[in-house]
């Protein structure tokens, strides 16, 4: 995806927004009563929506829609209307037809968030540091990476015969419910096609996919959705390295702490501890910083611009792949679509072959996903090439995908041996109107119709021959 679009007006909205839009106005208003939730949701909105909210925030009365309309130039009309519609579905703006007002609960809560007012403690209750055995940033990062990679590693190596460390029961249940893994033959879980696609997404997207599934399941577990959501959003506004107290949390949220520990989002010294620390996975939920520390073999945690530090793959025109990594998870993901030839302490050498790509295609990964994974993790040195990946390799991966689809099949019935041309055309016309014709040949006077349409066509013919 070109970088300009990533922050531009045509960007894909954050995956949490459709979920929020499906909630009732009451739930959303309850959610907006907490300042931290307002701030976190604001950060997820697109640039145009944020502009609109900011402009309306400090106005006490309502603004005529025509006033705001007059600010928009003609080419921006489409974006503006989409933004207003999106905000209305989120119940941030009420009644957008004639006057524009912000949801009053949101207005006061958001103002509190920005001015730092109020005793709401919705940004978490920080506790004193300096107690021994409290976690430093390195410990938190190591914990988050270990938990998260256990989950992903479990997914990648299922079915290859290796037996990696199993994540906890709760995580396994979540993976199964989200369709990323499936149980077969009793207790063994195998990764599904959706799971393979999941592995090629960025960590931010992966995290939100799992959290959305968690939110969907919240109601069945009789957890109040608003509390779950507000806890997650509160976590996203917390500071890395700061301890927080559990005294302000509701029972639902205390239960959540257990689950979040399993996913690597919070760290607690022991399960009964009255304080917790959010890890980097939690604090970057609504930001664009990388959710996992940029790993290198020496554990150096300096923050580079995310794109530069994430890239480690070099792809040559002879289909050879050089991946500068020692991370077993990244190696396992590469193994999904490339044949690895040799491993060194900081380098993995392999190549993209027909067999390896066919194996990946058979697992449900598409050619586009392979190409976008390679693009996203391309080594900074590859930027000298235009286009980034060699065109020959890209085209060949797509051609191998097309090879799979050489033969298409459809079930149905062939209607033939019509008595006369007129008969044939009459029935064909009827079938066409139903939209069930897959193939026709007027020279041979026959046509092929779908399985579903057969009942209707047969009924039609019987009525004709019976009555005529």
């Amino acid at each position: 995806m070109p970088p300009a679009a990533a922050r531009g007006l045509d960007a894909i909205p954050h995956s949490l927004l459709p979920f929020l839009q499906s909630q009732s106005q009451n739930s959303l208003t309850r959610l907006y009563s907490r300042p931290s939730s307002c701030l976190a949701i604001f950060r997820l909105l697109g640039p145009m929506e944020r502009q609109i909210v900011m402009n309306l925030l400090w106005i006490d009365s309502s603004v005529l829609t025509s006033t705001l309309d007059s600010w928009i130039m003609r080419d921006g009309r489409k974006h503006y209307e989409a933004a207003i519609a999106s905000l209305a579905r989120l119940h941030i703006i009420m009644n957008p037809s004639s006057k524009l007002t912000l949801n009053s609960t949101l207005k006061s809560a958001f103002r509190m968030a920005i001015t730092g007012d109020g005793e709401h403690r919705s940004f978490g209750v920080p506790t004193e540091r300096g107690e021994k055995r409290s976690a430093s940033v390195e410990v938190l990062d190591a914990y988050a990476v270990e938990r998260w990679e256990t989950i992903l590693h479990f997914m990648v190596s299922s079915g290859t015969g290796q037996v990696p460390a199993k994540p906890s029961q709760g995580v396994l249940y979540l993976l199964q419910r989200s369709g990323l893994m499936a149980t077969m033959l009793g207790t063994n879980m195998k990764i599904t096609s959706a799971g393979f696609q999941f592995l090629l997404h960025s960590p931010h997207e992966q995290l939100w996919t799992l959290l959305l599934q968690y939110l969907h399941m919240a109601e069945e577990r009789q957890m109040d959705l608003v509390e779950v959501l507000s806890f997650l959003l509160m976590l996203s506004t917390m500071e890395l390295g700061q301890d927080y107290s559990t005294e302000n949390l509701s029972p639902t949220q205390l239960t959540m702490l257990e689950d979040l520990r399993d996913y690597g989002l919070v760290w607690q010294r022991k399960p009964s501890s009255r304080r917790f620390n959010p890890t980097r996975l939690a604090t970057t939920l609504t930001s664009s910083s990388p959710p996992l520390p940029t790993t290198s073999s020496t554990g150096n945690l300096t923050q580079h611009a995310e794109s530069i530090s994430d890239g480690f793959i070099i792809l040559e025109t002879n289909y050879r792949l050089y991946a500068y990594t020692d991370n077993p998870l990244q190696t396992a993901v590469l193994n999904l679509f490339a044949t690895l030839k040799s491993r060194f302490p900081n380098l993995v050498v392999g190549s993209i072959t027909r067999d390896s790509v066919k194996k990946a295609l058979a697992n449900g990964i598409s050619a586009d996903q392979i190409i976008s994974y390679l693009t996203a993790h391309a080594h900074p040195q590859m930027r000298k090439n235009n286009p980034l990946l060699p065109v020959t390799v890209q085209d060949q991966i797509r051609l191998w995908e097309l090879e799979k689809n050489r033969l298409k099949s459809q079930d149905g019935y062939l209607y033939t041996a019509f008595a006369s041309q007129a008969d044939y055309e009459f029935v064909l016309d009827y079938a066409r109107k139903l939209g069930v014709v897959l193939w026709e040949n007027s020279a041979k006077r026959c046509f092929f119709g779908t399985l579903e349409g057969h009942v209707n066509v047969r009924g039609f013919i019987e009525r004709r021959t019976g009555g005529g």
Binding site: S351, T353, R354, D355, E403, R406, L407, K408, S409, Q410, D411, G412, Y413, L414, Y415, T416, A417, F418, A419, D423, L438, W439, N441, K444, C446, F448, H454, V457, R458, I461
Partner: protein, 65 residues
């Protein structure tokens, strides 16, 4: 008039010719419709796909480096 139940196969002429050759050993084609379409028996579809894949693999060569 007749209605024949079967599976419509859509493919390029090369693949169609391969299928016609395969048919000589074990019949599965009900009718040869045109250059790009064949009508085959419904229960034979899986077997035909497997054999076609095997046949196409025989004609591909990769360089092992």
């Amino acid at each position: 008039m007749k209605a024949i139940k079967g599976v419509l196969l859509t493919c390029d002429p090369a693949v169609k010719q391969l299928l016609v050759n395969m048919d000589e050993k074990q019949h599965f084609i009900i009718q040869d419709l045109d250059d790009n379409h064949l009508l085959i028996k419904a229960d034979e579809e899986d077997r035909v796909r497997k054999e076609l894949d095997a046949e196409l693999e025989r004609n591909t060569y990769s360089l092992d480096t």
